[in-house]
Every structure is written in C-alpha cells, then in structure tokens.
Amino acid sequence: MGSPRSQKPLELILARNLLTSISTPGFLLDSDAAVVFYNEAAAALLGRSFEDAGRMSAEQWTAAFGPFDRQGAPVEVDGLATTEAIRAGRPAHGSFTIRAADGARVAIEASAFPIVASEHGSSGAMVLFWPLSENGDSSPGGGR
C-alpha cells in the first residue's frame, strides 16, 4: 500500500548534511552501491563537482575514476571496501589509487561504514577518503 519512495530516507539526508559540513572528502552510496552524493572536498580530489557528475552507478564510478590497485590494475567493484560495507553491513577499510578527472593518480585510503536504520534496513554507506602523501601518510581532512 506504500506509495513509491522518491525521497531519500532521513538517515541518508542527515549523512549528506554531515558530509556537506566537513572538509574530509566523503561519498554517500545508496543501497545499490550507487554514488548519490559527494562533498566539495571529494569534488576537489576528483576534479569534478557532484552537480556535474550526478548519480553514478558503481560501474559508472569505476569507469570514470577507478580505482586501481598498487600495480595500476583496475579493482573489481566486488573487491571494493565500499561494496563490502554495503553487502555485508560491516565497516571496511582499504587502500587504492583513483584517477582524477585531469588524469592524475591519487593514492588514498578509504573507510566505509554502512548506514542502517531499523525502519528501512540498509540505506547505503558513507565512505571517507584519506589521500596519501608521497611518503604514504594519510592527510586527514585534505583534498589535493
């Protein structure tokens, strides 16, 4: 009897509001692992604003930005920490390289945690990127 849901669940809305307010590059994924939002810090890292990019399926995302492993080979969607966070409902952490819009490679660590509300079950995940400096240290709260 429920009408079709066009509106995002409140927990995703609040997660987006949080991401909008912080300077750590952050992404919001829905329960299909599609990127439904990323913040300005993430846009600075990718070289492309979310307003320009719009919602991206996991496949569109990987085609545009990677990620790639240490040897430069593309990482399968199934192997991503974010996919694990959503599918298994568990936090996950990984490191890989992404390709920004200008072609530059950026080494990052990523922390993903699932967003679960009792009312809707899994709503998606929040993913934070920690860009690595040349010597491999992660830089909290920084774009490039």
Binding site: L10, T20, A117
Partner: protein, 290 residues
Amino acid sequence: MRVKVWGARGSVPAPGPHMNRYGGNTSCVQVTLADGDVLILDAGTGIRNLGVGLVGARRINILLTHLHLDHIQGLMFFPPCFREESQITIWGPASPEASLEDRIARYISAPLSPVEVRELPCSVSFRDTPATEWEVAGATIRAEAVTHRGPTLGYRITDGDTALAYIPDHEPALGAPLAGLEPEWISGFDLARGVDLLIHDCQYADDEYPEHVGWGHSGLSDTLIFASRVEADRLLLFHHDPLHSDEFLDDLGATAKRAWQGLRRDATELELGQEGGEFAVGPAVQAVHA
C-alpha cells in the same frame, strides 16, 4: 476534514496575560474526518481541553510525532483516559531501545506521575507507526522520520481528496539550504507535497534562528521556503516559542505574510496557529473562526 487547534505552543506551556490570544498550551490538533471520526495529533497540554469536550467518543486515536514532553504532557490529564468505556490507541515512533508503552510510561509513572499506565481505567493500546501507509478511522496515514532532535515523525493524513501534513517539530534546513536542494534530499518533502494544509514548525523569527541552529526547529524563512517548495495550498505556522508574546507573534505573522507574498503567494493562505482556531480543510480552505 476539519481541523481545530488546541495547543500551538512549543517546548513548554506558556500561560500568561500576554499569551492569551495565541494560547499557552502545547501541541495538540484535532482532525475531524469527513465521516465524523476524530484523530488527535500530539498530546501536549492542549489535549486536556479537547478531552473535556470529547464526551461520548469511545474510539480515540492519538498520533504522536515524538515523545518530547511538550507533545505528551497532556496525556495524563486527558479525561477519556479516566473513562472505562474509552478505547484509546496511541501511535508513535518505534525505537530499538524500548516499546512505545515503556517509553511513555517513563512519564506516566512514579515519581513523575501519581498514576501508572496500568492503572488507567480506559483500554489503551500503544502501536508503533508502520513503515508504510495505513488506515485509521477511514483515513490514510503516512508517517515518516523527519529532522529534529531524537526520533521524530511527521504525518500526512489523507481523507478522500483532502490531505493534511502535520510536522510540528522540524528543522529541514539544518546543514542544507532549502532553496536549491533537490526535493528528494529535503526532509519531510514527500509528506507535505501538495497538501491542502501544512501545519509546520515556525519556532523562531529569522534573527533568532542563528542562535538555535541544530535545536530541531525552524526559523520563519526556512518554514516559508519549505512550504513553498512542497506547494502546500495553505500554511499554519506552529510550535510558537514560549517566549513569544501575542504582540511578538502578531509582528511575526505580518512579516510572514509579506515574505509569503515575496514568494508570489497570497497572504491569505498563511496563518499563525492560534488556540481555538478552527478550519474546514479541503481544496478550497476557509477559516471558520479563530
């Protein structure tokens, strides 16, 4: 559908000579459906006066948005609770922590209360609101979580071709400027979309809001933008701050009407919630008296 406001105040009762016109009782709205059945929205102190006149009603449905005291304080003073023949159903937000009954019983129990829930002579049941639309007394009800402090619902009530949204405690603009945001990212948008009457939080004047960001309530401009974005036909500003006197609220109402006209809307579509105010709600809404 008819709507009567029994309490339009937010946070805490605010009686006094400077509060008489808008009233000092906290949130409570009576909705009378086309077939005469009654729904009660929130059980702030306004529900006490409502209950005094509610003689002969056996089945009573109360829809609670959340359990802040200004929305449940009147429950213990609601005369039907003390009538054996009353069958009261109280709907409210689910919680993983405790049942609705147990959470409300924290208030209706010693030492805060002289009676316990189990001692009430009426028959009372507590129901978590379903995740999808459901029917109460012939009306279709939809409850959705909205931005406030703590788990809080807004309601959309549809009776025939008339729809009402009740979102008394709501800060949809928290961290999210409403003017340019896509509808799917606005808290409460679907609940209020295209309703005949929107009853919405407007606790603060615009110059007061910056001091209260994150408190869970809206400033005037955000309320107006929200109402305009959802294309509500009519707007009732609600949950008045306990510090706001009649004179202050008159001024706020005048400011609101000017700003509403600035959004290319008609000033007559907007009013401040006033205790005793009563409306017929439908595609052509008329205030009966206030």
